[in-house]
């Protein structure tokens, strides 16, 4: 049953190729898949060839982390405290952005239901490279409390590459700040290249993703 679904991708009528009459009376053909998406595969971006420049750029990347404001799980309840007077992550160059196009850090705040994972993959792929992932809570490490649930994934690193894991249920804001500091260290050392890893092992990640997302009705790589 799942195979037939996979074969006929884009069964959504909004995605179908069709002829449309415009407001001016002219007829034209709309092919949303072609118009809206690109099927290109992700690229591996080489770091800058001059080490000093790359070091400087890495420093800037590390000190200006824009977080995607996508609360995927219950860990997102600790994001407002992080951004408010008690913990005030703005001090460390951390800000939240509402659109994936402008963010660099994806906080996976807790368990991921399969339905959310699909959106997470899309959002992750839309983020510009280099991008980083912080996985919050035990449930992203091994399933945690929901290890036997039929709808939550057990290991996040099989679907998207993870830079820093934060253990706990739920991790305190202090733990999150520590994770951010660790992430900064990694980026400054030049180890924040997980986006390239994703591009290099693209097929493996896609295979894992498609194994659990049964109705895959989007292009393989969502620009």
């Amino acid at each position: 049953m799942s195979e037939t679904k996979n074969n006929n991708k884009f069964e959504n009528p909004h995605y179908a190729k069709r002829e449309v009459t415009g407001p001016d009376g002219k007829q034209f053909i709309v092919d949303p898949i072609k118009d809206y998406f690109s099927d290109e595969r992700p690229k591996v971006y080489e770091p800058n060839s001059i080490p000093v420049v790359e070091k400087f750029l890495n420093w800037a990347r590390a000190e200006s982390l824009w977080v995607l404001g996508f609360g995927t799980g219950c860990g997102s309840i600790e994001i407002p405290p992080l951004m408010t007077p008690r913990f005030d992550a703005f001090r460390f160059g951390i800000q939240s952005r509402p659109t994936p196009r402008q963010s660099n850090v994806f906080i996976i705040s807790g368990y991921l239901a399969v339905k959310t994972l699909k959106r997470v993959i899309r959002s992750y792929e839309q983020m510009p490279s280099p991008k980083y992932v912080l996985a919050l809570g035990s449930c992203t490490i091994n399933g945690g409390m929901y290890f036997d649930s039929y709808n939550t994934i057990n290991r996040l690193d099989h679907y998207i590459p993870v830079d820093v894991y934060v253990a706990g249920c739920m991790p305190r804001p202090e733990a999150l700040l520590a994770a951010f500091n660790r992430l900064k260290e990694l980026i400054k050392e030049g180890k924040g290249e997980k986006a390239n890893e994703y591009a290099a092992n693209f097929d493996w990640y896609k295979e894992n993703q498609k194994k659990i997302i049964k109705d895959w009705n989007m292009p393989d790589y969502n620009w």
Binding site: S64, R91, R97, P98, N104, S129
Partner: protein, 302 residues
């Protein structure tokens, strides 16, 4: 006007100063806002870091040629506004390319960037961009009405359309500022400044909780860097325009920085404690109070 390498050099230097001052000003303003919220706030050099970071991102996706040109138009508007704006009065070097009748051009340039952005973000294809830009254009049209009336009132008062002449007429003590000689036009102008700088309650163009985040939704990496650069320049230049029109201009850089800071602070001051209007409320507001002051300013100086 002959080509003058010295003038060009000083104009570019002025642009650099304005850019850095704009970035510093935005970080100071954000710190002030944070202090009201009992926070420490960002570090003072954060805007530079964000800018470098955005230019340093590796991947970028273009949705087409107009998408690419959108930020170019936007920064064209900002830099154009700067080029024809006299910065420091009394110094030949910091007058940029200001000329007689430049007020008309400046008002055009205010609108220019917005139009370019409309074309560019339209091609981005995101519905939020389209909604944001249609809001932005309709709001800016209504902002222009009181602003134009205030400027025409000044033109009648000083009998000129040259910004330099208007500033020169205000020299010789703060009692000569337009603020005192034409308070009604000043009120109309300062109200429309609130909208032009698009802080709350008039920030419905970007409105993160409604249409995140409006026109720049699809813009990222270098595109966003260009937009940020423009925002830094535009905020200072916009404040400088009002400084020149209503607050006697500046005779040195210190005065320039002080005055632009307080003019910009006015919109932040209002913005911290007011929620955002809906688009029809915002349009209605501009067509009520500031418009009345604008018309009054014309009638008084007819």
């Amino acid at each position: 006007m002959d080509f003058d390498i010295k003038r060009l050099g000083f104009t570019l230097l002025g642009l650099l100063i304005v850019l850095n001052w704009g970035l510093l000003m935005s970080s100071i303003m954000r710190k002030l806002g944070a202090r009201v919220a009992k926070r420490y706030g960002i570090r003072w050099f954060q805007p530079w870091l964000d800018l470098v970071k955005n230019y340093a991102l590796r991947s970028q996706i273009s949705h087409g040629i107009m998408f690419y040109l959108g930020p170019v138009f936007r920064i064209g508007g900002g830099v154009g506004l700067f080029l024809f704006m006299p910065m420091i009065i009394g110094s030949e070097l910091w007058l940029n390319y200001s000329f007689h009748g430049d007020l008309v051009l400046l008002m055009y340039f205010q609108f220019f960037g917005m139009l370019g952005m409309a074309l560019g973000s339209g091609e981005g294809g995101h519905p939020y961009s389209a909604i944001g830009i249609s809001r932005g254009l309709s709001q800016f049209t209504t902002i222009e009405v009181p602003m134009t009336l205030a400027i025409i009132s000044l033109a009648i008062q000083y009998d000129t359309l040259s910004l330099i002449d208007i500033v020169k007429a205000q020299q010789g003590g703060f009692q000569n500022w337009t603020m005192w000689t034409n308070p009604v036009a000043t009120i109309a102008g300062m109200f429309s400044l609130l909208g032009a700088l698009s802080h709350s309650p008039f920030n419905l163009v970007k409105a993160p909780n409604e249409i995140p985040i409006g026109p720049p939704t699809e813009y990222h990496s270098t595109f966003l860097g260009v937009l940020q650069t423009n925002a830094a320049i535009l905020h200072v230049v916009e404040a400088a325009l009002f400084m020149n029109l209503f607050f006697g201009g500046a005779t040195n850089w210190f005065e320039f920085i002080l005055k632009t800071f307080f003019i910009y602070f006015w919109s932040v001051f209002v913005g911290v404690v007011f929620p955002r209007f809906r688009i029809e409320q915002s349009v209605a507001w501009f067509l009520k109070i500031p418009l009345v002051f604008g018309v009054l300013a014309i009638i008084l100086y007819m």
